[in-house]
């Protein structure tokens, strides 16, 4: 492998992981934009999305029916899209339920109370994942120990898309991440800018009282935000699962930390910021793994977080000024 090939390979890794991080980061940034809450449970909602996806695969017996030799078979893609939608909806409605039960009654409470509540929800979800992981189901490969990582079956398998001779590897999973994530991001952007509910969201984020005085049902807008944020997190969990072929009750912790860093890097509250921040964090991780050392990667990523917080607290695309009063 030449230097250039090594670099290109890291770019591919970085982009794929970065897209997943970006999807999760969108959930953080959207919720923060609307209710000014860092939803620390978001990463764990993502985890449960992975567990649901694996359970669905097991229930369908898909692990058995998926034959790597039928690569051209569109059923693989159909299964993937089905899982993305199922996990997405599950996480979306879970997120809405969490908001209704926990965050909504605390909406007027001090920020610290809300933050502690979010951390509490995070612990609850992690333990649900542990419990779920201990369920005696066939699909949970890697042993039935609750805390053990579970194998996630290879849904898309195949040879190097760049050809067998190429040293740089582009897998079908990489492609799947691009073709699912990019439309989701474009769709979200169009939704927020072009639809009535999307305009209501932007208005609520910018000034909730004024939004109510415009006749916007802000409760519905907030629920929609949690729904969409959760959906993107659920979709991301399936990508993560097919990319890494494993899930664990802790997967949301790391992904959540990366995504939170990405959201802050891009400018918390900014949708394009979260997308760019996610891809950047993915690339930084990949480059650090390759050119520094894997064990230093977390140091690099969180070093970046600290540098942003010190020198540019509003992030790359963040809003430097609040409205004039």
């Amino acid at each position: 492998m030449t230097e250039t090939e090594v670099f290109l390979q890291q770019v591919i890794y970085g982009l794929s992981n970065g897209m997943i991080i970006a999807l999760v980061a969108l959930g953080y940034t959207m919720v923060y934009g609307i209710v000014e809450l860092i939803n620390f449970a978001h990463g764990d909602v993502f985890t449960l999305g992975g567990f649901l996806a694996l359970t669905v695969v097991g229930a369908l017996g898909a692990a058995a029916i998926l034959d790597p030799n039928t690569l051209s078979d569109s059923s693989h893609w159909l299964l993937l899209v089905g899982l993305v939608v199922t996990a997405g909806l599950f996480c979306g409605f879970l997120n809405v339920a969490i908001d209704k039960v926990v965050y909504k009654p605390l909406r007027r409470a001090p920020k610290l109370t809300q933050l502690v509540a979010a951390i509490g929800v995070s612990f609850i979800l992690v333990n649900i994942a542990l419990f779920w992981g201990g369920a005696p189901m066939e699909v949970f490969g890697g042993g039935n120990a609750a805390a053990a990582s579970k194998d996630f079956p290879e849904i898309l398998e195949g040879s190097n898309l760049l050809g067998e001779d190429s040293n740089v590897v582009l897998r079908l999973e990489d492609l799947a991440i691009f073709v699912i994530t990019i439309p989701l991001m474009i769709g979200l952007t169009l939704f927020v800018n072009r639809t009535r509910l999307g305009r209501g969201m932007r208005a609520t984020a910018q000034n909730p009282i004024a939004a109510r005085l415009m006749g916007i049902n802000t409760d519905r807008v907030i629920a929609a935000t949690f729904l969409i944020g959760g959906f993107l997190g659920g979709a991301a969990s399936v990508m993560w699962a097919i990319y890494n072929n494993t899930i664990s009750f802790q997967m949301g912790f790391r992904a959540g930390m990366d995504a939170f860093t990405a959201a802050v890097l891009g400018g918390i509250g900014s949708l394009p910021g979260a997308m760019i921040g996610g891809v950047l964090i993915g690339l930084i991780r990949a480059m650090s793994d390759q050119y520094i050392e894997t064990r230093w990667t977390n140091v690099v990523v969180f070093g970046v977080l600290i540098l942003i917080l010190v020198f540019r607290p509003s992030g790359l695309l963040g809003l430097k000024q609040r409205e004039k009063v």
């Binding site: 209501g200 932007r202 000034n207 004024a210 109510r212 005085l213 049902n217 409205e323 009063v325």
Partner: protein, 244 residues
């Protein structure tokens, strides 16, 4: 002076935030076609009164009716977002425009609940006629406007909600005197074209000159109410609010 049917009736409302009671049995009435002003010092409860009428601040006692229907009472009432389509519209204190939306987008937020695109376009043209600066700045972000321009934007946005009653909270606050005159002129024009207005002001003289009737609110109680012309020469008002 016109004296139509009562459009807004506030009866003995009590409201506050947490353990602080801001309004102690406030009552006032705005009749169809009137400009009524509510004057009073800082912290008297003027904004809270409007927020109660808009359904944002809940009542602890009393009730509010709009166009003959009860819209707020203890333990509930009509949700804030459902009052706007009925024509109860507020231009809030501090403008509260959407800083990261363009001027045009801000104006269109006013029309959020409307389903009559033709009517909206007509009202938009009317707003541009009233405040031509908004047309010039239509693609500029709301947050980049000056205070006076933001106030015009907030009023324009409210007009696009198709109000029956326009409640304005301190439209002169923090604005250059020349623009204040322009804004008050616009209020007068709107009223002449049939809009009922409840104007909350600290600038008592300007408000009373414009209004038909006035109420004086002091620490959560209405202490005076009369024709605006009479309040302008009332010694108690002169001493407390007109600086004489």
């Amino acid at each position: 002076m016109s004296s139509g049917a009562p459009l807004l009736e506030i009866k003995g409302i009590v409201a506050g935030y947490g353990s602080v009671e801001v309004l102690h049995e406030v009552s006032l009435e705005v009749r169809e076609g009137e400009i009524v002003t509510l004057i009073g010092g800082n912290g008297a409860g003027k904004s809270t009164t409007l927020m109660c009428a808009s359904g944002v601040v809940p009542l602890r006692a009393g009730e509010i009716s709009f166009a003959g229907e009860r819209i707020a009472q203890v333990g509930g009432g009509v949700r804030a977002d459902l009052l706007v389509p009925r024509g109860l519209v507020q231009v809030p204190e501090g403008r509260r425009i959407f800083p990261r939306m363009t001027v045009l987008e801000n104006l269109m937020m006013g029309a959020y609940t409307r389903n009559d695109p033709a009517g909206v376009q007509k009202d938009l043209a009317h707003v541009y006629e009233l405040f031509d600066i908004l047309k010039k700045r239509s693609s500029q972000l709301g947050g980049t406007l000056s205070g006076g321009e933001q106030q015009m934007l907030a009023i324009g946005r409210a007009i696009l909600s198709k109000p029956r009653l326009l409640m304005m909270d301190e439209p002169s606050m923090g604005i250059a005197p020349l623009l204040v005159a322009r804004i008050f002129e616009a209020v007068k024009e709107l009223n002449r074209s049939g809009l009922t207005i409840l104007l909350v002001e600290q600038n008592a003289r300007a408000a009373l000159r414009l209004a038909h009737r006035g109420y004086v609110l002091e620490t959560g109680r209405i202490t005076l109410s009369d024709d605006a012309q009479k309040l302008l020469v009332d010694p108690r008002v002169l001493a407390s609010y007109l600086g004489e």
